[in-house]
Amino acid sequence: MRQTKPLRLHVPEPSGRPGHATDFSYLRLAPAGEMRKPPVDTSAYDTRDLAISLVRVLDDEGRAVGPWAEERIDPELLRKGLRVMIKTRSYDARMLIAQRQKKMSFYMQSLGEEAIGTAQALALTKGDMCFPSYRQQNLLIAQDVPLVDMMCQLFSNERDSLKGRQLPVMYSMREHGFFSISGNLATQFVQAVGWAMASAIKGDTRIASAWIGDGATAASDFQTALTFAHVYQAPVILNVINNQWAISSFQAIAGGESTTFAARGIGSGIASIRADGNDFLAVYAVSKWAVERARNNLGPTLIEWVSYRAGPHSTSDDPSKYRPADDWARFPLGDPIERLKKHLILEGHWSEEEHNRTQKECEAEVIAAQKEAESYGTLATGRSSSVATMFEDVYKDMPWHLRRQRQQAGV
């Protein structure tokens, strides 16, 4: 009988750790313009090359190249997109400071991931419903939702539409196609499919857009969503944002080693594409393609957006404990704002002056909104909705035991 060595448990590790640079060769990059653009009625099986490569439009010089660039995007839309990204980054930066000043208990930035939600939001139509995770604030900002409304939620103040019940960033804005955020990961992914099924049941034309991070793809609701989306051919876009990190866990520990998250879609019979999440033009073009598929009843699409979580996971996190401090600077796909800026300047639709002016305008807008939001109170001032509202909305009508407990609470 042949001797074999003892078995060994394989535990994936990131190549980079504090003080040691990351080797990004695992990213399976492709040059801009290289990947083909299939027809919208493609079969899932025929997208398998797209699920393991990378759709990119913007090259290193900022030119839009390849088949995904053939449909010209209105420069006004790109200018709007750039502005939204700049505004989102200003908002994040300001809210981070507000959290440090204890005006709110908690905050989560989307630094480095601004292109993804922004471009897809601009590819969707009013009436479509997004089922976001907690890092898609740009879906709201792209729709010009008043920042003050968002901030009131963060501050849990007397104008917080969620009455201080939810942790900061867990927005809910039905009117803006933004489903109530839950702390429980991945739950929204299958709910999005259900919403899309409902739209199909009613013969509607609205579609759903689902959002999940790389880490949360390991949750069972991810696979469940893929199965249901495939079985019922639901009109849904299944977005996986692979920002390489789930708090301190590298994406390999979520199952990303030697494979892609887009490849999961192929196995489930869903047309799948892996795209550059820091390339605004690629995000818009691929989103448009997926929107068209869903809208024309051609079924679901899974898109893995390759990006990088440039900031800490949350205000409770210190990334220097588990990854190199200069990791984002070395990430091959760069900064989505810088890349779109370069493209627009090259095309003559933007300038350094306009960029600086826009930045100042966005900062001023954020500061003004913050001032107004703070006038309605913050966690620090303690001005929030009345305690009596704590017992409301548990049920449609308040049952006897909650009426009694409300009395016991003295409210």
């Binding site: 419903m129 089922f131 539409s161 969620l162 009455k163 019940r165 939810q166 867990m170 809910s172 804005m173 039905r174 489903f179 109530s180 839950s182 702390g183 429980n184 739950t187 299958v190 709910q191 999005a192 499919v193 259900g194 919403w195 899309a196 099924m197 409902a198 739209s199 199909a200 049941i201 009613k202 759903a208 069972s220 609701d221 469940t224 969503a225 199965t227 249901f228 079985v231 909305d393 548990v394 049920y395 449609k396 049952p399 006897w400 035991h401």
Partner: protein, 363 residues
């Protein structure tokens, strides 16, 4: 025995037929009602509860689902957010656990966390309960796992008339409702005398069910059997076990069928216990931290000065549901009668001989 008399044209129905009729009525009345679950569509359900509904309403209203409880409930939450009124089935209550996150973290809290921006008007049907040699995973009564969750309504009918009226009320309710169906009662009442022939619902007055629309308000208990000596708080199959125990013990028990387990009809409960001064709590589910504990606590809190005896609790033993020992596990009429006698001040039965269980620990 008292029950709400039916109105309108009635027909004899089993609980299965009554539940099917409720779904049929609601599918017909409200185009936002959809019914789905494992084997629910073409086949009509493993218990026949949805038979013929797909043929009548089409595959976009009544359809089969993959074997994924989390997916079924999660998709239903999304449909509810869209504006539909999903009625989903978990094949056995014993298999709801994979959907726990979607039920507890999502359906139950959606209205609260979004301040009414989104709601989850779902009905989740689950066949539950034992007495059918179902073993560990076809016999459970998990109601206490739902009653502990803020935002859920948990209900359980005990007869065809209530089953239809309550299911219609559950479907119409804008809160998520866990609708537990005692499968032992699907075809006829069962009083725990497993050695006697089963009487079908066609021979029972509660098998007369109106053919059209009616509803029984949630949070309304029924006085199943009026009595003077003691109050039994129970629901599901145990209603009939309590009834036969009252006959056999000669104790004039007032049996309250809670119907809605939580939130419950507190007024009916308290009025009865204050009248009788004695209370027995009875359920199939395991005892420790079972819903009975909440009932005991409520009665103690609200009826303390009316009580003439300690509150008794008869429940399933704190073990997984066994197969071969079904009838030693299922709370029997004899066990219930014995509890009645203890509460009335008769000879203490073996369950109060404390030395029997403390001795083992000391020895």
């Amino acid at each position: 025995m008292s029950y709400r008399p039916s109105t309108g044209k009635t027909r004899n129905m089993t609980m299965i037929q009554a539940l099917r009729s409720a779904m049929d009525v609601m599918l017909g009345r409200d185009e936002n009602v959809v019914v789905f679950g494992q084997d629910v569509g073409y086949f009509g359900g493993v218990f026949r509860c949805t038979e013929g509904l797909q043929t009548k309403y089409g595959t976009s209203r009544v359809f089969d689902a993959p074997i994924s409880e989390g997916g079924i409930v999660g998709a239903a939450v999304g449909m509810g957010a869209y504006g539909l009124r999903p009625v989903v089935e978990i094949q056995f209550a014993d298999y709801f656990y994979p959907a726990t996150d979607q039920i507890v973290s999502e359906a139950a809290r959606l209205r609260y966390r979004s301040a009414g921006d989104f709601i989850a008007p779902l009905t989740i049907r689950m066949p539950c309960g034992g007495g059918i040699f179902g073993g560990q995973t076809h016999s459970q009564s998990p109601e206490a796992l739902f009653t502990h969750v803020s935002g859920l309504r948990t209900v359980m009918p005990s007869n065809p008339y209530d089953a239809k009226g309550m299911l219609i009320a559950a479907i119409e309710c804008d809160d998520p409702v866990i609708f537990l169906e005692p499968k032992r009662l699907y075809n006829g009442p069962f009083d725990g005398h497993h050695d006697q022939p089963v009487v079908p619902w066609s021979k029972h007055p509660m098998g007369a069910v109106p053919e059209g629309y009616y509803s029984i308000p949630l949070e309304s208990a029924s006085v199943f059997r009026p009595g003077r000596d003691l109050t039994v708080l129970t629901y599901g199959t145990m209603v009939f076990v309590a009834e036969v125990a009252a006959q056999e013990s000669g104790i004039d028990a007032e049996i309250i069928d809670l119907r809605s387990i939580w939130p419950l009809d507190i007024d009916t409960v308290l009025a009865s216990v204050r009248k009788t001064g004695r209370c027995v709590v009875l359920h199939e589910a395991t005892q420790t931290s079972g819903f009975g504990a909440e009932l005991v606590s409520l009665v103690q809190e609200h009826c303390f000065y009316h009580l003439e005896a300690p509150i008794e609790r008869i429940a399933g033993w704190d073990t997984p549901y066994p197969h071969a020992h079904e009838w030693a596990y299922f709370p029997s009429p004899a066990r219930v009668s014995e509890a009645f006698r203890r509460v009335m001040g008769g000879t203490p039965g073996r369950e109060v001989q404390e030395d029997r269980f403390t001795a083992g620990r000391e020895g």
